[in-house]
C-alpha cells in the first residue's frame, strides 16, 4: 500500500497495520526534514506531488521489492505540502519473516522512491532564498543523444 499524505504521517497508528504473526523482522525508514542541505540552512520545505503517477509508480516499486525480497507486509506514505524541520517526509515500513528481507526491501523502496516518483522538493532557506532540489542521481545520468537532434521550439 502506497499513499500520499497531506498532513502529518501517523507513524504510531501505521505501525499497527504491519503486524503479522509470521513476521520476525520489521524495518522502518523515515526521511526527516533536515536543517541543512549542501551548505544551506533550511527553514522549511514544500513537496509537490503528481498524485496519480506517484501512487501508481509507488505501487510498482513495492511490487518490485516483493519480487526481489519477499516480505509479508509493506506500507509506504509520502508527504505533500508544507513541512517544517524535523517533520517526517516519507515513511517506509516492511515486515518480513526474517530481517534480511525486511532491511533490503525497505532500502530498495526508499532508494527507488527518491529517483523515480514524480515528487519535487522546494527548500526555503533561512537567508530568504529558495530552490528546487535536484535528484541525487542526476549527476550520474548522461545527456541523451537524441536530444541534440531535436528542433528547438
Amino acid at each position: 500500500m502506497f499513499a500520499i499524505a497531506k498532513d502529518d504521517i501517523a507513524v504510531d497508528e501505521l505501525r499497527e497495520k504491519l503486524k503479522d504473526p509470521a513476521a520476525g523482522g520489521y524495518c522502518v525508514f523515515e526521511g526527516w526534514v533536515r536543517n541543512e542541505n549542501e551548505g544551506h540552512e533550511v527553514e522549511r520545505l514544500e513537496y509537490e506531488v503528481y498524485e496519480p503517477l506517484a501512487i501508481s509508480e509507488g505501487e510498482k516499486v513495492l511490487n518490485e521489492a516483493l519480487q526481489k525480497y519477499p516480505y509479508r507486509k509493506v506500507y509506504c506514505v509520502h508527504r505533500s505540502g508544507a513541512l517544517e524541520i524535523g517533520d517526517c517526509a516519507v515513511w517506509v515500513a516492511v515486515a518480513a519473516a526474517h530481517r534480511d528481507e525486511a532491511f533490503k526491501a525497505c532500502r530498495y523502496i526508499i532508494d527507488q522512491i527518491k529517483i523515480r516518483l514524480p515528487i519535487w522538493k522546494k527548500e526555503h532557506y533561512t537567508d530568504g532564498n529558495s530552490g528546487w532540489v535536484n535528484c541525487e542521481r542526476c549527476a550520474n545520468v548522461l545527456h541523451l543523444p537524441s536530444e541534440q537532434n531535436g528542433k528547438d521550439g
Binding site: 506517484a54 516518483l117 528546487w132 532540489v133 545520468v141 541523451l144 528547438d152 521550439g153
Partner: protein, 80 residues
Amino acid sequence: MKKITVCYFAMFRERAGVASETLELDADTAMDVFVQTRSRHGSDEPAGHCKVAVNDVMADWDSGVDDGDTVLLFPPVAGG
C-alpha cells in the same frame, strides 16, 4: 502538426507560468515535445535528468506522441 496538451510541473511550471497548455507541435516523440517547449519550461536540464509521461503513463523519451495526447514534463525529481 499535432495538437498536444503539455503539462509542466514544479520548476517547469514556475518558469512556464502555467500548469498546462495546448500547443500545435510538429512532434513525433516525447523528446520532440520537450525540446520544442524549451522556451516555455525554460529548462537547460538534459532530458536524461527529467522524466516524461504520456496520457498519465510513464514513458520513454522516444515514445511516440499522437494528435490529442497529453504530455507531462517532469523536471528532476527529489522525493524522500
